[in-house]
Amino acid sequence: MFLFILKRILQSAPVLLLVTAVTFFMIHAAPGGPFSQERAVPPEVIKRLNERYHLDEPIWQQFVGYLGHLLHGDFGPSFKYPTHTVNDLIAAGFPATFELALYATLFALVIGLTAGIIASLKPNSLQDYVPMSAAMLGICLPSFVLGPILLLVFGIWLQWLPVAGWGQIAGDKILPSITLGAAYAAYIARISRGSMLEILSQDYIRTARAKGLSNARIIFVHALRGAITPVISFLGPAIAGLLAGSFVVETIFQIPGLGRFYVQAAFNRDYTMIMGCTIFFAFLIVVFNLLADVLLVLLNPKVRQEVSGGH
């Protein structure tokens, strides 16, 4: 198992290098530079700024220079917010994003699994349609629609919850977490319903039933264990997606998170910030995929055998 994890970590190094290279050349190919603005910037000023940030060097040289800094764990100063280093900005923005993604995932898991299991017990009945239709709402409404609706209803009309901020006013984390988690709750509901149905119709469950095991025991001990496998393979990348996709929710609820920094960096041509965030997120994605795989292996003895025996 340990070897398996170590191997995966080593394998991800070239992945990260590739991500770095592709992003680097792509952002430098994008039209417009970090210093352009509506009021014409005098050419001599642009020249000085380019010199200062080495943007006047050939692109490959810039890339090598960047890699050099990267090896020291230095993402460099942000171009748009030059008094801050990218490392600082990531450190400042990530906790909020991570917390948001965590709450959203918990919300999604609780609601999604509940709805999925309830629905799978009596397929094609009201007990199936109602939770699944409710789950569908999460998928049908993009977060930029759901967010403002929740915000209007609970924040402005009912005045129950704050509409902006993160950790500044009590309760300001509720609406963003629900908004971000809703779509994933729906996905989990559908995936778990699908795999529950699959499993409940399999022979070993029938055997268990025939043996007279209680329904709850069958569902929670036997079926759920199998049904959760696809949910977990979905969850690894989903959490990574949640982190990167939290941009919309962070914007709507004015959360000082990394997702917001990141997307704005792309529009601002904040080269170092884009690079730093891309590498950071890529790293996170690798980690979460690995975690999902490890969990899968632990949950499924057959795969476990294969992993330890096969390598």
């Binding site: 009021r39 748009k80 917010y81 299991i117």
Partner: protein, 541 residues
């Protein structure tokens, strides 16, 4: 299954319970503690006025610094600030300021005349890359120093005669010079602090961090957490601290106007930058006292690329301009009470209103287009209208596309690009017609008419007229206001005859300012002034 239902119900009831008790909003708490909550349109790049240019930064800088003089927002009258008195020579070229004895920096240091000399010296150091450097070029020899033609800063027209007396010699008579002094590019900086954290001409050092910062404004930097909060608190060393009633201002970066409006309604900010046009009527209909509507010194216009066919033909440009029903645009499309514009300079700026204009005249537009060889738009080449991606620009572009189609028979394509790409294409003139705007740096026609001098950095139309250039030069060296304005009138007439741009509307800003905020004043350039503000708790509804 029952368990999961229970979990679900418990979750929902927790949610409801936690929310039910009536909270006090930030605004209500702020009113009691004299803490102003402000929605700023973006995260600031830095606090240093020499390395930043945006209004976002400016909104914070006006709290942290103060110039020699300030401007009364509504009347634009110049009032004493760091300088308590000043005198001007008869030819308008030599200004002498007396710096008040009580002027201090936030760390308690005395603020002296030399601080201004050192600050402006820094502003003109080429290595700093100050984008506002040209602002100081009104000062004698400043431009030569900036360009390296002059090595000794002592030859530049800024001198500290004593700790208290500052003498400034200008290159020309510049009637708007006192206005410039209220601009962020002219604020004094504490150069000793700057030197503590790096070379004097080094950009973006740590001197602007809250724990290092030293300024001279009514407030001083207290906290700066990127994308979250900038907090400034009352500066105890400010010379007029007894008249500063706010204890703290908290700036939140809110990128979307729609979100900002919701924060306002939820009582999380007292005021924010701009009320979106669609929301204006819902406030104006019920005569909400929070709604402030005021004209700005800015113009929304379209640029022509005058170097390509057929837009190099003045008749075509005129036809396109005359065909635009700007009255209908501001009435039906923009919706924020904007004023239709028929010339570049906004009306009534310190007594200057252009006496020529680019009219709306669809019949002449048709005739001109036929004259240029495209009767009813026949054979008119396909071209693109470029704008940057926002709802407002899109609505206007769509309406204009339809107007040209209906009245001239011309089909155009729209192309929206995100901001930086758009800027790049505008800068390199890789467009045919593009959307543009300009907000005056100071209230004087000069700030607008300067744009279109030959090869001006902000010309970006390829248009050039030597007579126009000469008139702008003449205005700069004119000795009295009537003469200056006459040159500007003539220059603007040329602009309106040759139509390198189509003025569309004069900006009007709609802003919500909570009624609990007292003394908030609108300013033609939308400078935010906090010194006199105070908060009065509102009777609860």
């Amino acid at each position: 299954m029952k368990y999961s239902l229970h979990i679900f119900l418990i979750f929902i009831s927790l949610l409801v319970l936690s929310a039910c008790e009536k909270r006090k909003t930030l605004v209500e708490i702020g009113n009691e503690q004299q803490v102003l909550h402000v929605g700023n349109p973006d995260e600031i790049a830095d606090v240093d006025p020499h390395t930043t240019t945006g209004s976002t930064e400016h909104n914070v800088q006006t709290a942290l610094f103060e110039g020699l003089v300030v401007q009364e927002p509504e009347t634009l009258e110049i009032k004493p600030a760091v300088a308590d008195t000043w005198s001007v020579s008869d030819d308008g070229k030599i200004y002498r300021f007396h710096i008040r004895d009580t002027a201090k920096w936030s760390n308690g240091d005395k603020l002296v005349a030399k601080d201004f000399v050192d600050t402006w010296h820094r502003a003109l150091l080429p290595a700093l890359g100050n984008q506002w450097a040209s602002y100081l070029f009104v000062i004698k020899n400043a431009e030569a120093f900036y360009k390296g033609e002059l090595k000794d800063f002592n030859d530049v027209g800024v001198k500290a005669l004593s700790d208290q007396d500052l003498e400034i010699t200008l290159a020309n008579n510049t009637p708007y010079f006192l206005q410039l002094l209220n601009h962020n590019s002219m604020y004094p900086l504490h150069t000793k602090t700057i030197l503590k954290f790096g070379a004097i001409d080094e950009r973006s050092t740590l001197w602007t961090r809250a724990e290092n910062f030293v300024g001279n404004g009514p407030f001083m930097l207290n906290e700066w957490t990127p994308q979250k909060l900038i907090s400034v608190v009352k500066n105890p060393n400010y010379w007029d601290v007894q008249n500063v009633r706010l204890n703290e201002i908290r700036f939140y970066p809110i990128q979307s106007e729609v979100n900002a409006e919701r924060s306002y309604r939820a009582g999380q900010v007292h005021l924010f930058d701009k009320l979106p046009a669609e929301k204006v009527s819902s406030y104006s209909d019920k005569k909400d006292p929070a709604l402030r509507t005021f004209q700005m010194y800015g113009t929304y216009f379209y640029r022509f690329n005058t170097t390509i066919k057929p837009l190099n033909d003045v008749r075509v440009r005129k036809a396109l301009a005359y065909a635009l029903d700007r009255e209908s645009l501001v009435k039906n499309v923009t919706g924020g009470g904007e004023l239709a514009a028929y010339t570049l300079t906004p009306p009534n700026a310190y007594g200057y209103t252009s006496n020529t204009k680019i009219p709306y005249d669809p019949n002449r537009a048709k005739a001109l287009l036929a004259e240029a060889g495209y009767p009813n738009g026949l054979g008119f080449p396909k071209f693109k209208l470029l704008y940057n991606t926002t709802e407002v620009h899109q609505k206007i572009a769509l309406a204009i596309q339809e107007m040209w189609k209906k009245s001239l028979g011309i089909e155009i394509q729209l192309e929206n690009q995100e901001w930086k790409t758009f800027l790049e294409n505008q800068r390199t003139m890789n467009y045919q017609i593009c959307r543009s705007s300009w907000v005056g740096d100071y209230v004087d026609p000069d700030t607008f008419l300067q744009l279109f001098i030959t090869d001006g950095g902000n010309n970006e139309t390829g248009w050039s007229n030597p007579v126009y250039d000469q008139l702008i030069k003449n205005a700069a060296s004119a000795t009295n206001e009537a003469e200056r304005f006459e040159y500007f009138q003539q220059a603007e007439k040329i602009l309106n005859d040759e139509v390198p741009i189509i003025p569309i509307y004069t900006y009007v800003r709609n802003r919500l300012v909570s009624p609990s905020v007292k003394n908030w004043k609108n300013h033609l350039q939308d400078f935010w002034v906090y010194k006199d503000l105070y908060l009065e708790p509102q009777a609860t509804k």
